[in-house]
Structure formats: C-alpha cells, structure tokens
C-alpha cells in the first residue's frame, strides 16, 4: 500500500493505535477511562469545528451549542420520554444537523467577523434556551440517568471499556471522513474559500452554499459528540452547551492544528491531559490556559500536527520538484527559472494571496 509510506498517515495511525490501546493500560481505572472517553466525545465535536474553521476558515462560536443540542436531545428523550439510546441519538444528530442547516441559511450570507458574531449569537441563544426553558430542559437541575446504548445481551455499555470502544469507533469514522474530505474536491472547495472568497467565486465555487453545508456538517459532528457525551457521563447540565465549551473546542483544535486530519484528536488529548493536571483549580485553570491560548495563536498558530505536517510537506515537495525538473515534461521554448524554488514562502496554514483587497 502506497498510503503506508506517507508519514502523515503513518503518524495518524500511530496516534489512533495508542488511543485504541489505552484500555489495556487503564481498563480497571474507571475514572481515567471516563476522562479519556469524554475527551473522545469532545474530539468528535472538534472535528466538526475543523470543517468550518480549519477547512473553510470561518470561526464558528456555535459549536458548544450544537454539542449541547445533541446532548440534551439524547438526555431528555432517553429519560423523560423513555426512548432507546439509539433512537434518541439518531434524532439528536439529525436534529442538530437540521438546525445547523437552517442557521446556515443566514450564516452563508455573512463572512469573517460577521460570521463569528452571528454564530456566537446562535450559541448564546441555544444556551439561553437550555438554561431557561425549565419545563422542558429542567434548567439548572439538569438531566439525570441518561441511558447507555442498548445492545441486547451482546455488549454491556455500562462497562467503561465497552463505551470507550463505541466512541472510539465513531471517532475513527470521523477521522476517516475528515481525511476523505481533505483529499477530495469538496475539501479543495472549502480550502479555496478559506484562502479567498473572491477568488473562489471567480473560479466557479458556490461560496454561500459551501459555507452553509460546512456549517451544517460542523453541527452534525457537534450533535454526534454531544449525544455520545450525554450517555458517557449519564448526567448533563446547561454547562454542556456554554460558550466555555466552544472555547474548549477552540483550544483543542488550536493546539492540535487547524485544518489537519489528526490535529483535533491530538489537540484534544493533549489539552484534556492538561485539564486533568489543573483540575484542582477547575475554575481558575483559565488563568493559565487563557494566556497559553494567546501565546499559541501568536507564536505557534499551526498547532502540533500543523508543524509536523509542514515539515513533511516541505521535504516531499523538494523531492518532487527535483523529479519534475528531471522529467523534462515541459514543452520546449518555455523559459525556465530553476532558482524559483529557492525561497521558502509563508507556512501552509497562514493564509495569504497575491490578490488586492477590493
């Protein structure tokens, strides 16, 4: 397989393998298993953020809200309405995507700061609804005893390891989807928008529709993450839908690397670990983490995976440029400027174009 020679894919597989093996090391430690499983649920939501922020370049501050909708749909339907987990989960994911799609109808018309502020408002509206609509959501008393997924006598999902593997398998699917999108013309479409909406429009990309679909996709992942989260922790409160949640996600993706395939997972795992280190100071952790975020965005905006990937790309490109030159695939008569590749441009994740601002 050619793919196995690609260091990016190899790296991602190695990370996945390490995570897959965590139950071997911590299988008996329910607390640790739960922390990791919750981390994986967040990672799924972060993959949603990766599509809208990492690929499409639009800062969505509604992701925590979508996570909350997924969590509350599963939570409320499996308790107050006594639905099975799977039914509730399906409705939760479809519902969250639909809400994302509908809000996307407006979001597609906005860009940059307007998009961010708009999504911030959506996130806040969702939070307000959840924390104030007491007759339905129980407001601050939250939802207790959310059901585990049912599997007949086959698997007992109250076992943390079983739950871990369920979430892990769904996460694998998310990683794969991200990978597939990244490589396809769909991914290319989104990256085009990230770089320049005007140029994207000028080469035939339907910018608005693409943004709307990307936003709906981010909601879809948010719903999946939230729905699983509700079942993993068993109890949810309005804090599952806060702007703080969105910020956590933002931090995960920033540490891991926006627009990369492995970034959301790597970032989530690293920061979850940090959170655990600081957990004695719960409320004060942002005294340290706030400045860290600022420092990251100033000094290391590409994230762990972004930097590793950039290094790999650079080497691969050097090799390819060399072979392309040797090919002699150029038609005769073209002036060649072999020295052109001598200078390194901006890193692949800082976004610039030669265009002039209109």
């Amino acid at each position: 397989m050619n793919a196995l020679k690609n260091p990016r894919i190899l790296g991602t597989l190695a990370v996945l393998l390490i995570i897959a093996l965590t139950p071997v090391a911590f299988g008996d430690e329910n607390y640790i298993m739960r922390v990791i499983t919750v981390g994986l649920c967040s990672a799924i939501a972060v993959y949603g953020m990766n599509i809208i922020l990492g690929f499409t370049g639009q800062l969505s501050l509604a992701q925590g809200g979508f996570f909350g909708i997924g969590a509350y749909t599963v939570g409320l339907l499996t308790t107050d309405f006594d639905w099975s987990f799977w039914q509730a989960f399906l409705v939760g994911v479809v519902g969250t995507s639909a809400i994302g799609y509908l809000f996307g109808l407006i979001a597609l018309r906005t860009k940059d700061e307007y998009f961010a502020i708009f999504t911030m408002a959506i996130g806040f509206i969702i939070y307000l609804t959840i924390s104030r609509w007491e007759s339905v959501t129980h407001a601050h008393s939250g939802v207790n005893n959310v059901k585990f997924p049912e599997a007949g006598d086959l698997i007992d999902f109250s076992n943390p390891t079983a739950m871990f593997y369920l979430v892990f398998i769904i996460l694998l699917a998310c990683v794969y989807v991200t990978y597939a999108i990244r490589r396809s013309s769909v991914g290319r479409t989104l990256l085009t928008i990230r770089t320049s909406e005007d140029l994207a429009d000028a080469i035939g990309v339907n910018v608005g529709l693409s943004k709307q679909l990307a936003f709906a996709a981010s909601a879809f992942f948010g719903g999946i993450g939230g729905g699983l989260y509700a079942s993993v922790v068993g109890f949810i409160g309005p804090d599952a839908a806060t702007v703080d949640k969105t910020f956590e996600f933002l931090m995960f993706i920033l540490v891991g690397g926006m627009g990369t395939v492995a970034g959301p997972l790597v970032g989530t795992m690293i920061v979850t670990f940090l959170f655990e280190l600081f957990q004695d100071f719960q409320a004060y952790r942002f005294i340290v983490l706030g400045p860290i975020i600022i420092a990251l965005v100033i000094f290391a905006p590409r994230g762990v995976v972004g930097y590793l990937g950039g290094f790999i790309d650079k080497r691969a490109r050097k090799r390819r440029i060399g072979s392309a030159r040797k090919d002699g695939s150029t038609p005769a008569g073209t002036p060649s400027s072999a020295d052109a590749a001598g200078h390194r441009g901006a890193p692949a994740d800082t976004i610039t174009t030669t265009e002039e601002k209109k």
Binding site: F124, L128, G290, P291, I293, I294
Partner: protein, 288 residues
C-alpha cells in the same frame, strides 16, 4: 401611561450604558479592524475594580469609577500591545481566538479574586424623582446625565484633539493616514485603552442597579455586538442610535411581553439584521 414613562426612562438609562459600551467597541473595530470579543470581560473587570475601590478601599463613588477607568485604560493598552499588536498580520480568525483567550483569562482572574458568587454594590446615590407621575431612581438619572456628558466630551475629543483626530483619520483611511505620518500603532493602543475606559464608566454606573458576577459581561458582550452590527461596524452615530433603540426595545418587551423575550431581543435583532443585510443595517453600501 405612568408605567410607560417609567419604562421609557429606564430604557433611556440602559441605552446610556449600552452607548458607552458600544462606542468603544465600534471605535476599536473602526481603527484596528478587529471585533474585540473580550470587550464584555473588560466591562466585567471595570465593574469589579470599581466595586473594589468603593467597598474595599472606601473611596467615594465618583473617585472609584475614575480610578477604575484609569486602571482599565492601562489594561486596554496592554491588551492591544501584548495580544492584538503581534497578531496584526494574522488571519482574522486568530484575533478573535486570542480575544476569547483574554476573555476567559479575565473571567478566571475575577473569579479567583472575588469568587463566583453574585455581589451587590451598594447604591451611593439614593432617592428618586417624580417626573410626569413616574418614579425615576436618582441612579438612572445619574446614568443618563453622565452618558450625555461623556459622549459630548468624546465627540469633542475626536473632533478637536490631535489624538482624537488621528483616531478618526485612521478609521477612515488606514493606509492614507500612515502616509501622512500618523503612527497607527500608537493610535491602536490609545483606542483600545479608550474603549476600556468608556466601558468601565458604563459598568461603574450600572453596577449599583445590577449584580456583579464574573460572567456579567457575557450577555452585554453580545448585546453591544448586536448594537454595532445594527449601527454598522465602525460607525459612531450608528452605535449611539443602535444603543438607545435596542435598550428601549428591550425594556419595553420585558415590561409588556416577558423578561425572557426582553433578554432575547438583542439576539433576535442581531439574527434578523444579518439575515436581511449581512454587513449590518447602516453599513456603507458595498458596491457590487
């Protein structure tokens, strides 16, 4: 009728507070071209610092607001220098992420010092006036008067003083003003400091009416964003009109419909405005 007049006054007073908060935000957008998502947390810090000087140190109310405003001015300058300045050439998402980092930092600091519980700032100005049969608390009248005075001073500052004129010049044409020798870095710092100062005055004025908590800035943050989007990002008159319009709409819906709707008005307005005109209602029409 009495209730209506009463609520109208309340709305105007609230509008004064929004105005002081929104003007700074729109100025920052005009000059730095960034939406400062940490603005609400500056408001929250301003309230706590005022509270600290008033209650813990025990200086008079006006002095407490004044000292807090100066402290926040310095903080605003530092925020620009340490956070936004290094990011001036980064993609727009990066400033917003950094601003959110700052916001959570400020909230955590406030919580570490003052705790997560609500705090009450005792009203130093008591009593009320009867106007047209309505009972208007003196605090609200102070808010309205102060807002008018501060806005007039600000207008004077922008039109008359060198610094103010530079702010206006940069707002209008960033590259052009760099050419005529204005130092944009200096003006950026000044603008952010000024916005923190103004929002602190707003916080100091309204705190005796509301309760203090580390998250008190969150909903204000969204409301002022709704206002400046309504008024057009970067537009001063737009921010003033938007503030009063939103505040009055909010008090009226709270009174006559329900308080939950009142709270949601800002967001409904925001979503509606962006749905109709994605670049804000009064924003200069983009030629297409």
């Amino acid at each position: 009728m009495t209730l209506f007049i009463q609520q109208l006054f309340n709305g105007v007073a609230l509008g004064g507070v929004y105005c002081l908060a929104a003007i700074g935000l729109t100025l920052v957008f005009g000059v730095l071209r960034i939406p400062n998502l940490a603005h609400g947390s500056l408001y929250m810090l301003g309230a706590y610092v005022t509270y600290f000087f008033l209650t813990t140190v025990g200086v008079p109310y006006v002095a407490a607001i004044g000292i807090a405003a100066l402290i926040l001015f310095v903080l605003g300058v530092l925020l620009e220098r340490l956070v936004f300045h290094p990011l001036r050439n980064s993609p727009h998402t990066h400033h917003m992420i950094a601003a959110i980092g700052a916001m959570f930092f400020f909230q955590a600091v406030a919580q570490a010092i003052w705790g997560a519980d609500f705090r009450r700032m005792e009203t130093p100005i008591s009593g009320s006036l009867r106007i047209l049969g309505a009972e208007i608390s003196a605090q609200r009248i102070v808010i309205i008067v102060t807002a008018v005075v501060v806005l007039s001073l600000l207008t004077w500052f922008i039109k008359r003083s060198i610094h103010g004129q530079t702010i206006e010049a940069i707002e209008q044409d960033r590259t052009g003003s760099a050419l005529v020798g204005i130092n944009p870095a200096m003006v950026s710092m000044l603008t952010l400091g000024l916005s923190a100062l103004l929002v602190t005055i707003a916080a100091g004025l309204v705190s005796p009416i509301n309760l203090l908590s580390p998250t008190m800035g969150d909903s204000l943050n969204l409301k002022v964003f709704a206002i400046i989007i309504l008024g057009g990002l970067g537009s001063l008159p737009g921010a003033i009109v938007g503030s009063f319009a939103l505040a009055i709409a909010e008090t009226m819906t709270s009174t006559y419909i329900s308080s939950a709707v009142g709270e949601a008005v800002a967001f409904i307005v925001l979503v509606a405005v962006l749905a109709i005109k994605p670049t804000g209602l009064f924003a200069k029409a983009v030629q297409r």
